[in-house]
Symmetry: none
Subunit: 209 residues, 4 copies
DNA sequence: AGATAACCGAGACGGTACGTCCCGTCTTTTT
DNA sequence: AAAAAGACGGGACGTACCGTCTCGGTTATCT
C-alpha cells in the first residue's frame, strides 16, 4: 500500500572517503561559522564532493551533523576508554558525593563553548524535527541517562535509595533541572546549583534515617 | 563615537491595523504550515502588508512570532481572568496535592497540539537565538515560575518545606524534569509521571517529620 | 607525438542486442518527449543498458539519434524497395509534372508530424554541431539531392533543360525554398507553393524578351 | 477558463540598468564561448544581476539572446542610417545586376564568423522552439525579405518581371537556396553560387521553346 | 579446459546548471 | 512619514544530467 520508496542507493558501494570528508567538513564549518550559517552547499564544497552525494545519503543538514557528531564521539570513545563521558558514574559508596561530582562535570561541559555550540543546535533542531530528535535522544542522550539508572540501582541495593523508587524516573530529578536551565538559559549553570539540586532531590528519594 | 542609529521609526505614527493583521497572519501561518515554513514574505502577503512594514518594526521572524504569541496570551488573559495559567497555584494547605494538580495541568497543556506547535518552535528558536530566548524566558516562562516561588514560600511559612530551601532553585525539581521531557521527547509525559516527580521531589525538600 | 588514442573498443565484441535496444529507446523517447528532453541517462534506462555502453560507442546524444534514424530508414528501405524516397524521381518526359509530383510529396512529408519532429531536431543540432551536420547531409540529404541531379541531367539530354546549366546548382532552386520555409517556418508549406516554385524556377521569372 | 497567469511583473518599474547589463553580458558571453556554453547563471553573474531578474523578464536563454540581438541591430540602425542591411535593394534598372549585388553581400555576411555564430545558434533554437522561431522570423527575417518584394514589384512595373508572378513567392527562389546552403552547410557559399542562382532563377532553367 | 580479457548492467561519484524560494534593501506611489 | 507594492542583488535550495569511474557478472576468444 505504501508507495515505492524513491530508489534506495546501494550502500555497499558507498565511498568511505567521501563520508569522512563530509563529516570533517561539516564539523569544521559548524565550529567556524555556527550551525545556522552552515549550508549543505558549503559542506559539499569544503569536502570536495558533489551535493548529490550528500542528498543521496542524508535527508537533511541536521542529519548530516548528527551523524558527524556521533562519529566524532564514537571515534573518541575508541581511542581512550572514556571518550565523552560514556564511561561510568563513580560508585564510592557516597551517593551524594558521586552525584555532585557527575553533575558538576556536566555543568562544566554544558558551559564549554566547544560543546554548547553544536549540541545546542542539534538539540534545537531535534525539538522541531521529531525524527531527528528521536535519534538524538536514542544515540546520545539515553546512553548517558542509563548510567544514572545503573548507579541508582546500585544505591538501592546498598539501601541508600528506597526500594520503591523507579530509577528511570528518579534520575530526571537530577538531570531535568540542569537540562532545562541549559536549554532555556533561565539562570546560570553553576556548581552550586548542581550541588543544590543533588541535595534537594536526594533527600526526596533517600531512605528515611 | 557610536555610529548613528539606523533611523529609528516614529512609533507614534505606527499603523495599529497593520500590526494586528501581521499578528493574525503570523499565527495562522504557523498553525497551518509550521514555523519553519512560515516566511516573512508569506506573512506580509497574508496580512496584506508590505514587507518593509515588518522589517521596520521587527528584527526577525522569531521576534514577530514571539510578539504575536505574547499578544495572544495577553488577550486571553484580559478576557477571562486566567488566560494561560497566569493566575495562581492553589493553596489548599496540602502542598503535594496542589503541586500534583498543577503539574498534571501542565502535562495536559504540553501534550495539546495547539500549544505544543508554536511554543515548541519558539522555544527551539530561542535556544539558538539568545536574544529571543531571553525574551521568551522573561515574558513567558519566568512569570509562571514565580507562581511556584510564591507557593513554596507559603509552604515554608506553614512549615511544609524546610526553611533552608531556596524556592527558586527548588521549583526546578518539579518543572525541570517536565520541561526536559517535553522538549527532548525522551519519554511520554503522563499524569503518573507528574505525580511521581512531585512525590520524589517533595520528600526531598519537605520537613522531616 | 600524438597522445595515445583513448583505447578504442573492440567492435567485434559489441553487443548487437544493446545497440538495437538503444536505437529503439532513443527513437521512442524523442517521439514521446522531444529531442531536447531526451537524455542519455533516459535512453540508457529505457534500453536497460549501462550508460557507459552508450558513451563507449557514441560521442553524443545527437550521434546516437542520427544513427538510430539512419538505421530506421535503412530498415524501411530494405522492406519495400522504396523506404523514404530513396528510389527515383519519375521520368515521364514531362519535367514540370515530374518535379511537381516530387515536391508535393516532399511538402507532405515535411508537414507530417512523424517526420517533422525528429528530423527537425537533428537538423537543428546539425546546424550548430558541424560534424553531426556533415553526417546528416552526407547520409540523409545528399543522396536525395542526387536524385534531382540525375533527373535534371536526363532533362538536359532530352533538351528540356539548357545544356549550360549545372544540375547540382539548379536543383537548389527547387529544394532550397522548400527547405528554408520548412526550417524557418516563414510561411506555410502547401502544394500550391510547391507548384509555384516549380513553375517559376523552371520557366524563369523574367519576362521573355 | 484559463488558469490565472503567474503574476505578471510590473514592467513600468523595470530596471533599465539591469536590462542593458544583461544584453551586454549575454552578447559578450556568446561571442566568447558560443551559444551552447552560455548559461543563464553565467549571464547573471557577468551582468552583476540576480538570476531571478532574468527569469522575471524572459522565459528562456534563447529569448534573452534574441532580444539582445534585436537591441543590437536596432542600436546600429539608429546610429548610421543603415544598420544591418535594413536599407534597400538598389534599383539601377538592371535587375540581374542588382540581385547579384545583394546576394553576394548576403553570402559575405553569412560567411563572416561574427554574424554566423550567434545567428546560427538563434536560428537553430528557433527551429525547435516555435515561439522563438516566430519572433526570429518576424523581427529579423521578414523585414529583409520585404525588401525583395519591393524590388520585384518595381521590376514588374518596368516589365522586367512577368505580371503574373507573386513577388513574395518568387523572392524565395533567390533567398531559399542561399539560406538552405548556409543552414545545412551542404556546399560552400560563394559569389559564383550567388550569381548562378540569380541567373538560373531570373531567366529560367528550361530551354526556350 | 582454464585463463584472461573485453563488454556489459548498474549506479556512485565530482561537477555544473537548472529554475525556485526567500532574504533584506531599495524605490515608487498612495494615503 | 508611514504604508502597500514589489523589483532588485544575492544565496541556498533540491533536482536533473553530465561524463567518468569502479564494481561484479557474463561471454568469447586465446592459450
Amino acid at each position: 500500500m505504501t508507495q515505492p520508496p524513491p530508489k534506495a542507493p546501494d550502500s555497499t558501494r558507498r565511498s568511505e572517503r567521501s563520508r569522512r570528508a563530509i563529516y570533517d567538513a561539516a564539523l569544521a564549518l559548524v565550529a567556524e561559522t555556527g550551525y545556522a550559517k552552515t549550508t549543505i552547499e558549503g559542506i559539499a564544497a569544503r569536502a570536495g564532493v558533489g551535493k548529490q552525494t550528500i542528498y543521496r545519503w542524508w535527508p537533511s543538514k541536521a542529519a548530516v551533523l548528527l551523524e558527524a557528531y556521533l562519529d566524532l564521539t564514537a571515534q573518541a570513545a575508541d581511542v581512550g576508554d572514556d571518550g565523552g563521558g560514556e564511561s561510568e558514574i563513580p560508585d564510592t559508596g557516597d551517593l551524594e558525593a558521586d552525584l555532585k561530582l557527575v553533575l558538576r562535570a556536566t555543568v562544566d561541559e554544558l558551559n564549554s563553548p566547544a560543546y554548547d555550540g553544536p549540541t545546542r543546535a542539534l538539540a534545537a533542531e531535534g525539538m522541531v524535527n521529531a525524527e531527528l530528535g528521536a535519534q538524538f535522544v536514542e544515540k546520545l542522550l539515553e546512553p548517558q541517562l542509563q548510567l544514572y539508572v545503573k548507579r541508582l540501582r546500585s544505591a538501592q541495593e546498598t539501601g541508600d535509595v528506597r526500594p520503591g523508587i523507579d530509577p528511570r524516573t528518579a534520575l530526571e530529578l537530577f538531570t531535568g533541572p540542569l537540562t532545562a536551565r541549559w536549554l532555556l538559559r533561565t539562570l546560570p549553570l553553576t556548581h552550586e546549583y548542581a550541588d543544590a539540586i543533588v541535595e534537594y532531590a536526594l533527600h526526596g528519594i533517600a531512605a528515611r534515617r
